[in-house]
């Protein structure tokens, strides 16, 4: 009995634990003892006003910023000092709020760069370009086109990434991140600058991607209605602190959240979080 419950506990062990992360930049406390746990397979939303520390938390999780204190655990193992490259190899991929594509490369090549580790091949064969290497290349190209098709970018494969319109760039960032075969996908404002129809498409797309690759998704987004419908759980950050955590319904009713969004008018009538309906 106890053995089987141990087994269940191990299976349900969180994919990522964020434990008391603080991040100080000079006089600014960007994150103040933030803790979260992500369960495998969920879509977890991170909302909060501008400057609340959402992107800083992403940077800490993905290894671009070092936390001043606290720690992150990946499947129970501390990730301190691993750096962005190693963390990506462990299974954490991300997109960037202010889009960081490889702009001089084509759309297809951007995804191929994401397939960097899948592209390992013996050096001599690669140099001479013999059969086995070409077949391997062919499989990579096919994989890249598959990802582009999933994100509805295949028609743009040979375009320079720097020439793409805004919405396509956001989707290409997702394709590139997916190419690294992640277990956890961090999406930083993927719907920014999109119109309502595009936002709706994106919501369905994120759900599809999660199901297709059985991913865990951590998403930052300002558009509250989208988040209410998309996320299994939500955390709310304000001034670097986690002020709420729970299901969308719980978060929507939380008086602290209502106050943060309405700027201290004390809740009551017309909560901003309630605009999701």
């Amino acid at each position: 009995m106890s053995a089987s419950s141990d087994g269940i506990a191990a299976a349900a062990a969180p994919l990522l634990q964020v434990e008391g992360i603080s991040c100080r930049f000079g006089g600014l406390l960007a994150l103040d003892r933030v803790s979260l746990e992500l369960v495998e397979g969920e879509i977890f939303g991170l909302i909060g006003p501008n400057g609340a520390g959402k992107t800083t938390l992403f940077n800490v999780i993905s290894g671009l910023t070092t936390a001043s204190s606290g720690r992150c655990l990946w499947r129970g193992v501390p990730t301190a000092g691993l750096g962005a490259c190693r963390l990506n190899r462990l299974g954490i991929a991300r997109t960037f709020q202010n889009l960081r594509l490889f702009e001089s490369l084509s759309v297809r090549e951007n995804v191929l760069v994401g397939l960097h580790h899948a592209a390992r091949a013996p050096l001599l064969g690669a140099l001479l370009g013999h059969g086995a290497f070409r077949r391997h290349q062919g499989r990579l190209e096919a994989r890249a086109m598959e990802l582009l098709a999933l994100l509805e970018l295949e028609a743009l494969a040979e375009q320079r990434a720097g020439d793409l319109p805004y919405g396509d760039r956001r989707r290409l960032e997702i394709a590139r991140a997916l190419a690294t075969a992640p277990r956890l996908l961090l999406l930083d404002e993927p719907a920014a600058g999109m119109n309502p129809a595009e936002k709706d498409d994106l919501r369905q797309l994120i759900g599809r991607i999660r199901d297709h690759y059985s991913l865990t998704v951590l998403i930052i987004e300002h558009h509250v209605p989208l988040m209410m419908r998309l996320c299994d759980r939500l955390a709310v950050l304000n001034f670097g602190r986690r002020i709420a955590l729970g299901s969308p319904a719980e978060v929507r009713r939380d008086p602290l959240v209502i106050e943060a969004y309405l700027g201290g008018s004390g809740g009551g009538q017309g909560s901003a979080a309630g605009e999701g309906r």
Binding site: C85, L105, H116, G129
Partner: protein, 296 residues
């Protein structure tokens, strides 16, 4: 055109490729002449001090030249490997300054080490070829090999990783590219190519001294790449060929030639900010030839 000038042009093209390799990875390194000098000293010392390398006939043996080039490349590569770790943590202009310092350190060492012949350098380096034609043929093969390797980079994951780092180093790291390692590979490859070229040049020039690796040479080799374009290997090759030939071809105009040469270097980037060879022009050329080359 005489063979001696052609040989200098080919050597210029090889050095331009050595500057291009780190630049393809977004790293502005001016260390090429330093490694070039190191390779040259390896060849000069071996072929003048070691009897087997000098040979007994009228010309020194070809295997000795190849061995010296390999050893020169290895020594230059080892120096690059040793200093690359810390130096490549610098970015942009700071990396350029550090590599200029490296070139100066190597130059002063070459002037003062007990076995490098001081300011006079090393003379009477034996010739593996009787005439310049031999050098030209040999260097053409070497340049073709270097160009072929650069062309393969366009389709290899290493080449794509380098291009990704050039575009956005942070994003490259976050898709799982080991950016310090990739930059080090580019830096070492650049040093090996410069060392190999130096070993060959020492024989061709017959004498070798510390002036081979000077700050002036850093700027000249950088001009090759700026003039030709740094996005595709054809650019530096073209830049190296043209800018090496130009001062010689301008000899008839006398004292004006350096002014004209300077103007070309100045006006080149003004009218062709991306260099002579760009992705668009390559595509145009490809359409003209009826098939698209692998353009970046």
């Amino acid at each position: 055109m005489d063979a001696a000038l052609l040989e200098q042009m080919l050597l210029g093209a090889l050095l331009a490729l050595s500057v291009y390799l780190p630049l393809r990875c977004g790293q502005l390194s001016l260390a090429t002449p330093g490694f070039y000098a190191v390779g040259g000293y390896v060849a000069a010392l071996l072929s003048t001090r070691v009897a087997a390398f000098a040979g007994s006939g009228a010309t020194s043996p070809l295997w000795a030249l190849v061995a010296e080039m390999v050893l020169g490349g290895i020594l230059a590569g080892l120096i690059a490997l040793a200093i690359g770790g810390p130096v490549l943590q610098l970015r942009g202009i700071y990396l350029a300054i550090a590599t200029i310092a490296l070139v100066e350190i190597l130059r002063v060492l070459n002037l003062n080490l007990p076995f490098t012949g001081g300011a006079m350098g090393i003379f009477a380096i034996p010739q593996p070829f009787e005439q310049a034609d031999g050098y030209v043929l040999f260097t053409l093969v070497l340049l073709a090999l270097a160009c072929w390797l650069c062309q393969r980079l366009e389709v290899l994951r290493l080449g794509r990783a380098m291009a990704a780092i050039r575009d956005d180093e942070l994003a490259a790291a976050s898709v799982g590219i080991d950016t310090p390692r990739t930059k080090l590979i580019a830096f070492v490859a650049s040093a090996v190519l410069a060392g190999v070229t130096g070993a060959l040049a020492a024989h061709f020039l017959n004498a070798w001294n510390a002036r081979a690796g000077s700050f002036d040479a850093s700027i000249t080799t950088l001009a090759f790449v700026v003039f030709g374009g740094s996005r595709y290997w054809l650019g530096p090759v073209l830049g190296g060929l043209v800018l090496t030939a130009l001062p010689e071809l301008l000899r008839p105009v006398g004292d004006l030639r350096l002014i004209l040469f300077g103007s070309v270097i100045l006006l080149g980037p003004l009218f062709f900010p991306q260099g002579l060879v760009t992705a668009e022009r390559l595509r145009g050329l490809g359409a003209l030839l009826g098939r698209a080359p692998q353009a970046p």
